[in-house]
Symmetry: C3
Subunit: 148 residues, 3 copies
């Protein structure tokens, strides 16, 4: 009888802990939990304005210096794409930022309407079909949205 | 004895599963969970700039083409309201977007200060008292914020 | 035997309820849950444009009038800092908004590059090292992002 009693208790303890574990696993996978534990930012750049581009590069540097660990994506749309062209004055700054872990994403729809191909762009950048869809995707992953 | 033992086990299994169900129900109702499962975007337009209005209409089209299923609200504030006037060059584009499921929201405070009434506006758009409160409300529902 | 049986049931009921309580506590502490229950907005101002500053002050007023209870932070970056200078035409408006509970945050990096010190600024504002890091921090706390 005692054995059976202990068996019930043991099995009970085992099962009772399962929901907690399941819940913690679920919480760990939720955007909210990721938001709370990680530093993630998505910057959006739309302007054909080299002063703004240099300011954004300085911003990225400041943010990385303050936080140390931070995941940053810069999504570049429309006339902003000039920032990511291979012959842009910002090319060195963009490459430095990529070396420091920043991810740059060019909007494919904008490239098409501006008649730009990947050959025109800085090596190592990423491409999305629609920049705004990429920004939505990142916000769903807990990235804070920043529009400089 | 065996019956009682089985009854304890059965009751235990029943109750042990309840927290998981409750948790899943709660997760299903949370903004984070909605974010993960649905595509929702809120665009904000403030500018008196017909080129920007047409670009935004093209953006909406691109996003819908890529995602298929997506809930989009466009909240229009201040001088941006020109985009939603019945006599605007964008009126046809706005009506096409509404037919494709996009929701347009005019800021009531802006309308008042610009002396606009509903009679001046495109039929079928929605009205909010303060556009920024509407944008907050949508972000709380998991809408990704986009500022073109 | 009956006592033991009841003890098992009682202990079981106690333990089975623990995961639910733990889960509710966790949900209460998550950004998603805070988002759902509280009105929180972070406004970002970057422009050296006194008309925009006055518009933003009017926006804050409208939002507070509509919602009653709302936590608002205004993060001011780069040339926008003119809005928070002690000698700005917006100084009275900013002080009124602070009296009504709005929190204004100046970007420390911007202050440095614009050679501004706290003595130049309106009394009672808050300072952050990088304005964009402050904005990320607030979004992680469930603040809706607004870029007027």
């Amino acid at each position: 009888m005692d054995k059976r009693f202990l068996a019930v208790l043991g099995l009970f303890a085992l099962l009772a802990s399962a929901p907690v574990a399941a819940q913690q696993a679920a919480a760990g996978a939720s955007p909210g939990a990721r938001q709370a534990s990680q530093n993630r930012m998505v910057f959006q750049v739309n302007e054909d304005d080299s002063r703004k581009w240099h300011t954004v590069l300085a911003n990225l540097n400041n943010v990385q210096e303050e936080l140390g660990k931070v995941e940053i994506s810069v999504v570049v749309i429309g006339p902003g794409l000039g920032m990511l062209k291979a012959d842009a004055l910002t090319a060195n700054g963009v490459q430095d930022a990529m070396a420091a872990g920043v991810r740059f994403v060019a909007c494919g729809n904008s490239m098409q309407s501006m008649k730009l191909t990947k050959d025109d762009m800085i090596d190592g950048i990423t491409y999305a079909r629609a920049g705004y869809v990429e920004i939505m995707r990142l916000q769903k992953l807990g990235y804070a949205y920043i529009r400089p």
